[in-house]
Structures are given as C-alpha cells and as structure tokens.
C-alpha cells in the first residue's frame, strides 16, 4: 500500500485519509512489543511453568498485620487511595482491598474502608461484599464497612484522622493514589501505634510514606501486589514480561547515556526516543 507523510507527520495511505500519527509511532511500537512480551509470558505461565517472584516485605506483612488486629480485637483500616475510579492506581488499590477483605473475613476482623469519591465507593462495596461471600462470611459484613466520607481531600483527611484516633485500628493499609493528604493521614496513624503499610506510584508522596509507615510499596510494586497476593500463575507471568521490557529499556538508557557522553549518535535516534 502506498503511503507518505504529510506536513503534520500523519501517514496518508493511498485512498485513505490519515490512519496513524507517525509522531507517536515510537510509543505504538513500544506498546506492541510490550503487549507481545507480556502475553508470551502469560501463555508460558498458563502452560504451568513455575515463575519466581521476589518476596515483597510490605505484602508479606499484610497477613501479619491483620493477624495482629485480630489478636488485639481492633479493626483494620484500608484506604484504596484518594483518586477517582479512572486512575489505574485506584484499580490496583481495589484489587488489593479484595484480597485484604478475604483475610479480614476469614479472621472475622472488622474492616473500615473510608473512600473519598463515590464511584470507588461503589466499586469497593462490591469488592468487599464478594470477598466476604467467597469466605462464607457474608453475615459478618456491616453496612458501615465501606463508607463515603467527603469529596474534598482535607475534609477527608480530618475525618479519617478522627476515625484513627477514635477506633484505634491495629493496622492501616494505604494503597493507591495519594496527594497532599498522604502525610496528614499516615502521621496520625503513626501516632496511634498501628502497623502501617503503604503503596503508591506518586514519587512526591513516597518520602512521606517511607517516613511514617512500617512498609512501603514503591511504584511498580503497587501494581504487582494483586498478582503477588493472589499467586495466580497468569498474573505472575505478566510480571515476568514486564521485567523483560524493563531490561530492554535499561539497555536503551545505558546505550543512550554512552552515545550522548561520547557524542556518537545519528540525529534520528534522538527522534526515536522523543515522546509526543
């Protein structure tokens, strides 16, 4: 098929108006390579191949934290981030909530899930309900387990802080997107002496969580958490694929550093790695 690039960089195929933005072609190629590699490893895992995933201390501590709460007769507080449902970190937080809710249901430990936005609240209610049903403990689920607090982050922080001081949860788990409220919440939790486990992919909030929490999942570890906790082979396979692509990116970065340092690179290589 005949194709040429017009003045704004769009591919004009013969007889067909623009199809693909060539200025984003590099991202498209990376997406295709990434998808192929991840799907390949998922298929390998589905065939029964054993895959090793390094232990994540923060996730190993989840069951320990719930066990401690059970022994002390205190609740577990879980916050699935303070982002709306359209953020992938919120989805990751809800995935972890499902697995944590199974443990709290098993041990019949009270669970508190204060939520900032109504849509994650509806999703969290469904996730927790399914987990309790799976564990055969649907009758232990209280209507106030998942509750909407406020649509504004400082009002939310005030309410959650009050909840921590009044209910004294033995374990606080924060997983998802966090902004300015991260330290407001985690410092109050720290002052109550609760075990605190946090996970976020927001680089600006990580130092606060590291200072205030016992365990912190950094960046990609948050997304790996549901695969790690469920130990489902297909999900673990996707982590392997992701790691391989990461190796490719590290290799490209090192090659780029050397090329720029010694000034030996053709100009088109720079365009190849430019984001548009």
């Amino acid at each position: 098929m005949l194709a040429w690039v017009d003045s704004v960089g769009w591919v004009i195929a013969a007889g067909v108006p623009g199809l693909i933005r060539t200025d984003r072609l590099n991202a498209l190629v990376l997406l295709i390579v990434f998808s192929i590699v991840v799907i390949y490893f998922i298929r390998r895992a589905a065939r029964g191949e054993k895959l090793y995933v390094r232990p994540l201390a923060g996730l190993q501590a989840v069951e320990e934290a719930v066990g401690r709460a059970t022994e002390m007769g205190k609740p577990v507080l879980f916050i699935p981030g303070t982002g709306d449902i359209d953020e992938i970190q919120t989805i990751a937080g809800l995935s972890i909530l499902g697995l944590v809710a199974k443990v709290t249901a098993r041990y019949e430990t009270p669970l508190l899930v204060p939520v900032l936005y109504p849509m994650p609240m509806a999703a969290a209610q469904e996730v927790v309900r399914e987990s309790y049903i799976d564990e055969g403990k649907a009758d232990h689920l209280r209507p106030e387990t998942v509750q909407y607090i406020a649509g504004e982050s400082f009002s939310y922080s005030a309410r959650v802080g009050g909840m921590m001081l009044r209910e004294k949860p033995a374990a606080n788990i924060f997983m998802g997107t966090f902004h300015a409220e991260s330290l407001l919440i985690s410092e109050v939790g720290q002052s109550t002496g609760a075990i605190q486990i946090a996970g976020t992919a927001e680089p600006e909030q990580l130092p606060f969580f590291i200072a205030a929490c016992d365990y912190t999942l950094i960046g990609e570890e948050l997304y790996a958490a549901s695969a790690y906790l469920s130990q489902e082979s297909k999900m673990l396979g996707s982590l392997k694929g992701q790691d391989l692509v990461k190796m490719i990116i590290i290799f490209c970065l090192l090659a780029g550093i050397l090329a720029v340092t010694f000034g030996v690179y053709p100009e088109f290589v720079v365009d190849l790695f430019t984001a548009n």
């Binding site: 990751a92 809710a101 209507p143 009002s155 997304y223 692509v245």
Partner: protein, 190 residues
C-alpha cells in the same frame, strides 16, 4: 481510546471525548450514592445512640444545609452557600493544610535520626539541600545553593525517573491484565 491516541481523524477523538463526558455524568449521579452512604451510616449511629452520636447530627445538618442552599439558591457570589464556603469550609481546609507543616517536622525528625549509614546519608543530604534553599546557607558556605541544586537536578531526578518508568510499566502491565480479563480482583473475583 488507545486507537484514538494513536489514530488520526476527528471521529475517534470525538468518540473518546464523548466517553469521557459520559464518565463525568455517571460520576455526578454516583454522588447520590455517596450522600446515601453518609446518611445511612450517620442515621444508624444516631438511631442506636452509639458513641459520639451528637456529632453525626451536626454532620447531617451541615450536609443538608449546604446541599439545600446550593440546590435552591445557587452557588454564585452573594449566596448563603458561597458565604458558608468562604467563611467556614475554606478556613477549616486551610487549617488542615497548615497542620501538614507540623507533621512534616515530626516525620522528618524520625526519618533523619542517624541510626544507620543510609539514614546518616539522608540526614547530611537533607541538611545541605535545606541550607542551599535558604538565604542563610550561602553565608555559611557560598556554594551551598549550587550543591543543593545539583542534588535536586541530578540524583533526585534520576531516582524519580526510575520510579516513574517502573510505575508506567507496572500500570501498562496491569491495564493489559484487565483488558485480557486476567485481572479480576478489582471486581472482587480473585
């Protein structure tokens, strides 16, 4: 939406924008679920006279007063809603934000205790950056601002980019798991 990102033409972009608009509408209706949740939980506490039940009455009063004025009188300048927001809610939010300064101090105290080699490196780096960012720093040592800038521009940015690249790959991998139907734990199905 993926096709709209890489593709050309207005049809796909329009469809993508329309989908985002639908999401805003659904989110608006979902707010009702939030109000129902607050009302159910608070009313239950008041009915059973559980601990701190009078505060729940205050909460419900505030919720319905603000919502009532907002719905029936509007939220523009000169309305009761605007007055309540400017004179009650805004100062309370500012108070919460101000508390952050004290929490940063207490968290920094714990993080900077030189108990290990890593904590000591962190402590020294933090002192250099702090001195480099205040006018007094350059009177102590004239190159403090330059050193602080170098730390912020190179080691700090390098680490942040490392985290961002890892997180982006993690997000892409998770998205792929969701699209392929492998990741269902966010729906409560493990």
């Amino acid at each position: 939406m993926i096709i709209a990102f890489f593709g050309t033409g207005d049809t796909l972009a329009d469809f993508s924008n329309e989908a985002l608009r639908y999401m805003s509408i659904v989110a608006g209706f979902a707010l009702l679920l939030g109000v129902i949740s607050i009302t159910q939980v608070s009313a239950g506490v008041v009915r059973k006279r559980e601990k701190d039940w009078p505060y729940k009455i205050v909460l419900l009063l505030c919720l319905f007063t603000m919502a009532g004025f907002g719905i029936f009188q509007g939220i523009t300048s000169g309305t009761v809603f605007e007055w309540l927001f400017e004179n009650i809610q805004k100062p309370m939010m500012a108070t919460m934000f101000s508390v952050l300064a004290f929490f940063i101090a207490s968290a920094a105290y714990r993080a900077f205790r030189a108990r290990t080699v890593e904590a000591t490196i962190l402590l020294i780096t933090a002192i250099v950056v702090m001195l480099g960012r205040v006018p007094m720093g350059q009177y102590v040592y004239e190159d403090f601002p330059a050193v602080a800038n170098w730390i912020m521009m190179f080691p700090s940015v390098a680490v942040q980019r490392g985290i961002i690249i890892g997180a982006a790959l993690g997000a892409a991998s998770m998205s792929l798991r969701i699209i392929l139907g492998i990741e269902r734990t966010y729906m409560g199905r493990g």
